[in-house]
């Protein structure tokens, strides 16, 4: 770990940028400034706010189906008032339940934790932290948001059609998803789902291309790759994963669209639906699972990596210590990105996969524990003996590490194909992926929002509300998902809306009620955050200093409210890595400061 950030020879051949005239050089109207903006910061905010709206919708859906799971036999007349036939008689109908579960998954995985998370922070942070005025192509960047918006509109429209949205689970496995006659949710709602996801793929590709191109080509003078903050590295690998895996999902969805509407049989063979024998022959439903999970698995890292990057940054800044093992952090990000493409079949252990092939995938899956453990070790050693400032962002970052450990450990259970025979499709799986990828990434996102809110809006979020938000969410996350591990080990299946006919599972009746109540409380706490977010945009405490957290990275060298172009005058030059905290008796040394003659090396 000696002198990895001192690479004068890697400095790319940039010229000093003398372009004051580029700042504010054309009049901006409301439309070009806030709606069809090409400013990466505004686009980031658009992603964030759209993501927040989606998170409220997706979170609310989970409260609804938790109501069913906790109180399967009670009636809630308000459901009929609100949802009409979907809540007939005060009960959540089966069609509604499956639509809710499917949409909860789709919304949270794609619209919140992919677009809302990496869309927001890649846009906001990449140009600011690498020292660029904007993305490689601001126009494509704008298109990326508007494709996402369009995808959102199509998905929302599917909520309001008479047969309802897609309801075959967020993984949309055929044959269920391919046959309109098989269920309500496989009718028009499924087509809209596919169209929406196709638009979403376009959005995330346009975004990803830009992020990669910007990081590799637009760094300021002195910003070698090994001087990049870990946020940027994480966002870079995220973009690479997205660019390579989303197209494969796209091809899988195209074949599905053909099967649904044009009578092909790519995924269909020998099927009888409602007494009717279908003519389709020769297709393979497993083929879809391969194509889906080739995206699906990298997707969980697309969700997780940005959170990891931001957590690394926030932990280092608020421990007032350099990140421990920068190169190891980088190497483990790289290893995770590679392994992400080699483990997809661990989602398919019980599909009749060849056991030998299964054992290969077990090995590769368990290998992910190595880079993950390296990262955890480095986060903990960064905290070790640090001069810790418990800001809300820091608390969420620490919470992330906690959740990542506890969720990661259950991954070792599930990664073993033999144990998976017992655990697959139980709520144990639900608990595992919600903690390690869902809630943990949410925590990373919250850490990012609390930390960079001053940069986004020139104001602080309210700290007290932040602390309340953090503790309720952390305690709630464990109280919701911890019990699910027990239930899952006992064999409680996921996706079932009413398990009361299983006598042996009646022992969990009270536990399920408890989980539902906690879920409601946690959802309410998120609304507190939403209030804090929007209130603080307008009324929050103003940021007075340029660098409120005492951070080294370049975004804090811009004005408090940077215009389009980020820096007034020249883009600063970078002379060191971003983690010189507590060095040579100084609290922090910004990246822009030249290395002194007497300065010690690390």
């Amino acid at each position: 770990m000696s002198d990895m950030h001192v690479h004068p020879e890697v400095v790319t051949s940039h010229e000093v940028h003398s372009d004051e005239h580029h700042v504010h050089h054309h009049k901006e109207t409301f439309i070009t400034k806030y709606i069809f903006s090409q400013d990466h910061k505004t686009i980031g905010k658009q992603f964030l706010i759209t993501g927040i709206v989606w998170a409220i919708v997706g979170g609310f859906f989970s409260v609804l189906f938790r109501l069913q799971l906790g109180y399967p036999n009670e009636t809630f007349p308000i459901l009929e008032t609100l949802f009409g036939k979907w809540g007939a008689g005060g009960h959540i109908t089966p069609e509604f339940y499956y639509a809710l579960v499917t949409m909860h998954g789709t919304i949270l995985v794609f619209f919140v934790l992919t677009a809302g998370l990496s869309g927001t922070f890649a846009n906001l942070l990449i140009p600011l932290q690498i020292g660029a005025r904007d993305m490689a192509s601001p126009f494509l960047n704008m298109l990326s948001y508007w494709f996402f918006f369009l995808a959102s509109c199509v998905m929302v429209s599917s909520f309001f059609i008479s047969t309802g949205p897609a309801a075959g689970g967020w993984t949309v496995y055929p044959p269920l998803s391919a046959l309109g006659q098989a269920s309500q949710g496989s009718k028009l709602g499924m087509d809209l789902w596919i169209v929406s996801m196709a638009l979403f793929v376009v959005s995330s590709l346009l975004g990803g291309l830009n992020y990669i191109s910007t990081i590799l080509n637009m760094r300021t003078k002195g910003m070698s790759m090994t001087r990049l903050p870990l946020t940027i590295w994480a966002l870079f690998f995220t973009a690479v994963l997205g660019v390579l895996s989303f197209p494969v999902l796209f091809s899988g969805l195209i074949l599905l669209l053909f099967d649904r509407n044009l009578g092909t049989s790519f995924y269909l063979s020998d099927i009888v639906v409602a007494g009717q024998v279908l003519p389709n022959e020769g297709g393979s439903a497993i083929l879809f699972q391969h194509l889906f999970w080739f995206l699906g698995h990298p997707e969980v890292y697309i969700i997780l990596l940005p959170a990891m990057g931001m957590v690394s940054e926030v932990l280092s800044i608020n421990s007032r210590k350099p990140i421990f093992g920068y190169m190891a952090m980088l190497g483990s990000l790289f290893a995770i990105a590679i392994l992400a493409f080699l483990v997809w079949a661990h989602h398919m252990f019980v599909t009749g996969l060849n056991p030998f092939l299964g054992s290969v995938f077990v090995l590769l899956t368990l290998l992910i524990a190595v880079p993950s453990a390296i990262k955890v070790f480095n986060w903990l050693t960064t905290l070790w003996r640090g001069n810790i400032r418990f800001t809300p962002a820091m608390l969420f970052a620490i919470g992330f590490v906690s959740l990542f450990i506890s969720g990661g450990l259950t991954g070792i259970f599930l990664g073993n194909s033999t144990i998976d025979i017992h655990l697959h499709d139980t709520v144990f799986v639900v608990a595992h992926f919600h903690i390690v990828m869902g809630v943990a990434s949410m925590f990373g996102m919250f850490a990012g929002v609390y930390h960079w809110f001053p940069k986004m809006f020139g104001r602080f979020l309210n700290n007290t509300l932040g602390y309340v938000h953090f503790w309720i969410t952390l305690a709630g996350a464990y109280l919701i998902f911890w019990p699910m591990h027990y239930e899952g080990l006992a064999g409680v299946p996921r996706r079932y809306m009413d398990k009361s006919s299983w006598v042996s599972f009646n022992q969990f009746t009270e536990l399920n009620k408890f989980v539902t109540v906690v879920a409601m409380i946690v959802f309410a706490a998120q609304l507190l955050f939403v209030f804090n977010f929007f209130y603080s945009i307008f009324k929050g405490r103003k940021v007075r200093s340029q660098n409120p957290w005492g951070a080294n990275t370049l975004e804090w060298t811009t004005p408090v409210r940077p215009g389009h172009g980020n820096w007034e005058g020249e883009i600063p030059e970078v002379h060191r890595w971003p983690y010189d905290y507590g060095k040579d008796g100084r609290d922090f040394i910004p990246q822009t400061e030249a290395v002194g003659a007497n300065e010690s090396k690390h």
Binding site: A136, L205, S245, F250, L255, T264
Partner: protein
């Protein structure tokens, strides 16, 4: 507006770099489809097809269009604008002809009673060649936009970057076609 192009000198223009990444992404999509093809072709009930002759003609057309676009790029750089315009027009016509020929090829197959029914090589061909044709169409639109922009713009455009990006993309869809054809000939 032109924050990017004017201020920082790069070894490779960011737009061109973006194109290379995009090409990687498009390749992944076709890799997904062709590997699905390989998996399916090893299963029972697989029905293979004979590639219609028309597709050889379309191959010649798209190869020729690669030549014309490269030539047009050269004339643009040498500021031989009338030659450039003629060659771009030729490229556009060849591109449209390619898509029309693909359509004829599809019709040919359809007449052989290879419809959407089933899941053999024929059905994959419709999907894969169809998607490829859409990508060619994208190239035609991009080229058209560049072409028209040059007429509409009040200031003369000397930068060849957008044309270079378009022609690199054009060569890519050309090579992609050759790959797909060979793929179908060998495995289909």
């Amino acid at each position: 507006m032109d924050i990017v192009s004017t201020e920082q000198k790069k070894r490779i223009h960011p737009h061109k770099f973006t194109l290379w990444v995009a090409i990687g992404s498009i390749l992944m999509m076709f890799a997904g489809l062709t590997s699905a093809f390989i998996v399916k072709s090893n299963q029972t009930n697989w029905i293979s097809i004979d590639i219609p002759v028309v597709f050889w003609v379309s191959t010649a057309v798209i190869l020729l269009s690669s030549l014309t676009i490269q030539w047009s790029l050269r004339s643009f750089r040498q500021r031989e604008m009338s030659k450039y315009r003629m060659l771009v027009a030729a490229t556009l016509i060849l591109g449209v002809a390619f898509i029309a020929l693909q359509w004829l090829g599809f019709q040919d197959l359809w007449k052989q009673n290879i419809t959407f029914r089933g899941s053999g090589a024929g059905q994959f061909l419709y999907v894969i060649f169809g998607l490829h044709a859409i990508h060619v169409l994208g190239g035609i639109i991009a080229l058209l936009v560049i072409f028209v922009k040059a007429y509409v713009s009040r200031t003369k455009i000397y930068s060849s970057v957008s044309l270079e990006v378009a022609s690199a993309y054009w060569h890519f869809v050309d090579l992609l076609w050759v790959y797909l054809l060979i793929f179908f000939l060998i495995i289909g």
